[in-house]
Symmetry: C2
Subunit: 373 residues, 2 copies
């Protein structure tokens, strides 16, 4: 995959590159299962997808209902304010999924143009029910914005089944491409709403009225920005790898690796932040046991085991570790490394953790996975 990045940089207006762009657009439609959506990779990290979604759909005078159950829902609300919208947040405890009943209540109070929520909250490891939330949005005449930065490629993302309006992701999570691009899908309803805006989109780089004439196939391209050619090689290669494995197979793999990790962690008495039915397999938020210096544990596993564990954000700072098993790192080898490194660090902190028990518990699940596989 990394070698794909090093292919010679061709001009972004070169016909050869435009062929690659077309392939990527079609592959994104397949990836999102969004055959009727316009799909493009935005030329900036996943946050650009969020900004594009919010800034294109909202303008001053619009009302937006935004579910906040972690850092990224909060960021959406911040952006919607910058777009000039009237923002109504539906606040949840961090670690809980979005509650459809609360969201519906907010939509019943007054009409909203947009309902925005995060499918897979990277800050907490909680999964929300996109199908139900999108259906509530449609019922109340709102356009849905779904953040799939961490979900895409790791759990099922089915834009057509959800009938979602704007769905975006990043490349560096479960796609295992380098960071720097943000795939996005827009429904016909969303495109019509953007065309009908009264004011220009406040963000030029993410203005879909401009972007679609750059990426759009018909009538030739209008120059907009210089596409990050090499990053697109990387995305293309990651899609080739994913489709070779099969999207369904990759989703099963993420689920099994999570089960093995969870069995190992539980064998040494560690617990999860998120209740079992709502856990993301690719982002494991583990509660820090009492009396443990959580930062020292992260420093230990990075220095000694070359393994990066995420810190808690916001109200979860110091309270959880976030262990990612995403894309190419969702393998038995990584599960064993995580368990070994974490047990070693806990033992070094004076809280003995039996690495053998953890690994045996995990291997039981991994063996089952291999038999099923």
């Amino acid at each position: 995959m990394l070698q794909a990045l090093a292919r010679p940089t061709v001009g972004h207006l070169d016909p050869e590159f435009q062929g690659l762009m077309e392939e990527i657009k079609q592959a994104l439609q397949r990836l999102f299962n969004a055959p009727d959506h316009a799909c493009v990779p935005l030329p900036a990290p996943g946050t650009a997808g969020m900004e594009a979604a919010i800034m294109n759909l909202l303008e001053p005078g619009d009302r937006a209902v935004i579910a906040v159950n972690g850092a990224f829902g909060g960021r959406m609300a911040d952006m919607a304010g910058r777009a000039g919208a009237e923002v109504v947040t539906v606040d949840h405890e961090w670690g809980k999924p979005v509650d459809p009943a609360w969201v519906e209540e907010a939509l019943e109070q007054a009409p909203a143009k947009v309902l925005a929520f995060v499918h897979a909250e990277t800050s907490t490891g909680a999964r929300s029910d996109s199908a139900t939330l999108c259906a509530i949005a449609r019922k109340h005449g709102a356009l849905s914005i779904v953040d799939c930065v961490t979900s895409l490629g790791g759990i099922a993302v089915d834009v057509a089944a959800w009938d979602a309006d704007v769905v975006y992701s990043g490349t560096q999570k479960c796609l295992s491409a380098p960071p720097g691009l943000s795939p996005i899908a827009l429904s016909n309803r969303a495109q019509a709403a953007i065309s009908a805006r009264k004011e220009k989109v406040r963000n030029w780089l993410c203005d879909f009225n401009l972007l679609m004439s750059y990426w759009g196939g018909e009538g030739g391209r209008t120059y907009h920005h210089t596409a990050p050619v090499n990053a697109l090689y990387g995305l293309h290669e990651s899609l080739v790898v994913l489709f070779e494995e099969g999207q369904q197979a990759a989703i099963v793999r993420h689920a099994r690796m999570h089960e093995a990790l969870a069995a190992g962690l539980e064998a040494v008495g560690l617990r999860f932040l998120v209740d079992e039915p709502h856990r993301l397999p690719q982002l494991n938020a583990v509660l820090v046991p009492d009396g443990i210096d959580e930062a020292a544990v992260r420093t230990h596993v990075l220095a000694k085991w070359d393994l990066e564990i995420g810190a808690g954000l916001g109200p979860l700072k110091g309270k959880v570790w976030r262990i990612g098993l995403m894309g190419a790192s969702a393998t038995p080898w990584h599960v064993r490394l995580c368990l070994t490194a974490l047990c070693d660090a806990l033992t070094a902190q004076g809280r003995p953790a039996d690495v053998r028990a953890a690994l045996l518990a995990a291997e039981g699940r991994l063996a089952g996975w291999r038999l099923r596989g």
Copy 2:
């Protein structure tokens, strides 16, 4: 350089990567000659630098004077309107440099918060006098925004001598790194103006109040976006290459390659759009002779010589070709290729062009360059 892109992607919060970020920040200060400016590479193409400059310095109620002498000045004016500013454009014929007297007149009419202009207009090949324009801005109490997307690394960019406020560039022009990043420098005056804003910046991804706590060295980093790690490897490598050659040496090389190309083009009767004193060496806008199908020429040189020549934009559509000699493509080999391919295409179009005369004229200059070198 391309191999640098393929180095393993480390976490963007990894201490090793943060060391690389510090090196890049210092190298950008050296590159811009901006020791007292805050310098960072924004995680998106050159247009993101423009958007960041405009969106951070301007808010509703501010007056902005924007010199327009090509496509990119026009884009700045568009963005300033999206920022909610009162926009006064100072319009020039495309191909002319910005006229300091006209700009001063606009600043005298009413106080402005910002004067924005393009140092090196990629759409026309015209160079404007940044030192004089920045001095006029200071005289009238305006902050200067200077677009150096095409100038940086090809002609002198001296932010300290200009005493400019916000200067940005791209990576894919004279730095010859892959597209996808936008280096930017901010003066203390600009930073103070951003801190004193009444409204939030409309563009979250480019909000310097957020970005500086991510990139800033003191007090730890606040998570903002996921840095495009591999693209930053590419930028770092391109800076190593540039500093090995020497910035002054690279500028002399661009000047000499332009002289050789110009001698060759003039030997076969071709003429430039821009008057000689204002020509950019790295972007050569050549007038299309009467009766020539300019698109057929571009198609011919791409298909037969694997050489991409830019088309005219806006009012110059169909009237000029734009020949870039930037960074790693500013070499005698590229000069010869351009002349050979263009003479071949013109001859194929029924306007015989003597390739031998063109090459001999160019070689005269290249030989002189080698003797001087």
